[in-house]
Symmetry: C2
Subunit: 414 residues, 2 copies
């Protein structure tokens, strides 16, 4: 069978996870065109996902920018994050840096969706992605909600995915079944993000659905762990968004109760980890203009130091340009390690690329240059870095820096 | 008269500073080709600057990478930094990440230059720029030193400048006279750096000469202040080098004694500040592929916070790509401010671009879009950011992110 969304060697499909072709029981989704992206256009730009079950349990995670978009403020402050039944999300406008007026528009959309769905506004999360600093046309969106509610269906996942896209080229959704010891459940997710975190285009969103029955504590713990292992470990350009949002909803419609600290919970966690990591890697691979992606793995030193080195390598435009060019220039990795750890010279670092040792104890070592050149010309390149002391580990997945990245971010004119 | 090196509105020529056309008294310089850049090539790649005066006073500054190049280690540990009489610098090889063998090669070059000049090795600084991780061919360089010493002359500044260049396109040298209350002195400087701090190509070096008579304390204080106001405030890609070196030598041959805390010292400081800032801005303007440069000025908050915000804006590939494209997208500035200050939402920031207010109290304000579009299409763009609280200030000068930046850093193959 096809591995579907599990296309990277770094996020293999767990054996107990299969393609299902349907969303979990109890969910309906849809998308419509309401003219936020472009007035009068037929481009889908408003998506809605609903869990029909009254006892739905949810969990959510958001970015932590000092310039937080209005939909995040409204969802965090006006929702019961453990009992979200619906998410309404638009593309084309981030509703960020829009002040009190932006908050009011987000609430207007939230209330319109709640009214049309017969829910409390506290059960409806809102999310936005698009240009920063422009007021959301909340009235236009609210007017489009009733018709969208009519169109919701279990088969509406593709429309929902289309509606939250911006510059995304790769598909980032999956509809899976997961074999748990206590029975089979379904798990689906839709993400968007063109690999970068861009204020205009590409904010990262992900909405996850399951028909497993979860406690609020399990939902929160499982989502938190999966996000830390996936979306927290990717970088295209190191730019934190104003709008990042991840919401998990569990309808319980499968009848399979996942108890805290059970084998069921562990297996569902494995499936969720694998799914979100696969989606995260597709976001990186979809990085605007990206040709190849890399994984940097740092071992040694303390946790904070290892993470700082991983971030310095992943965000270095020199390393990223070399990755794009298929240039086995390990000197740029050495430079970014040194830059991350000022005052530590002479630092006894090791570097290997795709298993080929290129530096040891802070200096280059002889290696097979032809083999190295071949190794860095593939779709995925692994950089391993050793630091002296302790034994912390840190890893990040990142994309290259390409002509098209510059083009996409320079040539758009407002 | 021409303003020579003072081409930016942000580094005007002080009135008491004039073009001189000669190096300060007591200095001889030169450059030669010894095959480090390319074996057998006539390309200059070895430069030497000598102060003939026995009482020469000097000062130096270096970068602080954890992966520090061998020439910096040797200069810091084996030289009397207040009494450097000569600097020998090569391009084509950074002699970084080369371990103990690299240290030995740097010492070999230092000793060869000292012997040929009749100086103690403690009076000879070494500097390198070029590819990281490849052992310096010290023997080849040492063999070329005696002939280079023969060619040293007061007119050798252009050859010296040529010898330390890598991808530099703009000239970065000046030969000035400076009117001090106690008399006229000369001041010259040669810098290299293609605007980026690249491990392969572009490490920033600057060598400054004056015939003023300075105390070691004055030399150190003047150089330290000027470096903080110039080379410490520029970024092309936020990548700290392994090799950055700045050396000031004062021969005293003018007979003008600059006393500590005197008006002479203040006026010389002004001239040195202006010169190094002008050279720093030329490094930014020469940023590989750069079309325009920007200045970000942050006012408010504490010193650490203001500096962090300035750095976040200056190093954001999204802001830099918009700068390249002449795109007045202030949302990207808002995004980078928020990313720099997680957990502070709602943050009441102000942004103005070239004097046009685009955001106030954290939200966009109406502005003349046509005037803004014109303002961001010039050679230099000013971003001013206001933050709540206190009244610290921070500023950085930075280049855009262009196709050629990617090309230069991706298409070179080892």
């Amino acid at each position: 069978m096809s591995d579907g969304v599990f296309t990277s060697r770094w996020a293999p499909r767990p054996e107990h996870v299969l393609e299902a072709g349907t969303v979990p029981g109890g969910f309906r989704l849809g998308g419509s065109a309401c003219g936020v992206k472009a007035a009068g256009s037929a481009e889908l730009d408003l998506g809605l996902v609903l869990s029909e079950a009254a006892g739905t349990v949810s969990a959510a995670r958001f970015c932590d920018s000092g310039v937080l978009a209005a939909p995040i403020v409204v969802t965090r402050e006006h929702c019961d994050l453990h009992a979200i039944r619906a998410v309404i999300a638009n593309s084309g406008n981030a509703n960020a840096a829009t002040g009190e007026a932006g908050i009011a528009e987000a609430i207007r959309v939230q209330e319109a969706a709640a009214a049309a769905l017969g829910l409390s506004p506290r059960e409806v999360a809102v999310a936005s992605t698009g240009v920063i600093g422009v007021l959301l046309p909340g009235e236009r969106i609210a007017a489009a909600v009733p018709a969208l509610v009519e169109r919701l269906s279990p088969g509406g996942l593709p429309d929902f995915a289309e509606a939250i896209k911006t510059t995304d080229a790769l598909e980032k959704s999956a509809q899976l079944s997961v074999e748990l010891p206590s029975g089979s459940i379904h798990l689906s997710a839709v993400a968007k993000g063109a690999g970068m975190i861009s204020p205009r285009f590409a904010t990262m969103l992900c909405f996850v659905q399951t028909d497993a029955a979860l406690t609020p504590q399990s939902a929160d713990a499982l989502l938190g762990a999966a996000v830390r292992r996936s979306f927290d470990r990717i970088s295209v350009d190191g730019q934190l968004s104003t709008n990042d949002t991840v919401v998990l909803m569990a309808s319980g419609q499968s009848g399979v109760h996942v108890e805290p600290d059970s084998e069921d919970e562990a297996r569902l966690g494995e499936a969720l980890d694998a799914l979100l990591l696969a989606l995260a890697l597709r976001i990186v691979a979809d990085g605007e203009g990206a040709r190849r992606i890399a994984r940097v793995h740092v071992r040694g030193a303390g946790e904070e130091t290892a993470a700082r080195v991983a971030r310095a390598v992943a965000n270095s435009p020199l390393v990223k340009a070399a990755l794009f060019g298929g240039d086995p220039n390990w000197g740029r990795i050495a430079q970014s390690i040194g830059a991350a750890l000022p005052g530590t010279a002479p630092l006894r670092f090791d570097i290997s690329i795709e298993g080929i040792a290129v530096a040891r104890d802070g200096a280059g070592v002889d290696h097979d240059a032809a083999a190295l050149a071949r190794a860095v010309s593939g779709d995925e390149v692994l950089y391993e870095i050793g630091l002296p002391g302790e034994a912390a580990e840190a890893e990040l997945f990142f994309s290259d820096l390409s002509y098209d990245y510059v083009k996409i971010n320079a040539e758009y004119t407002t």
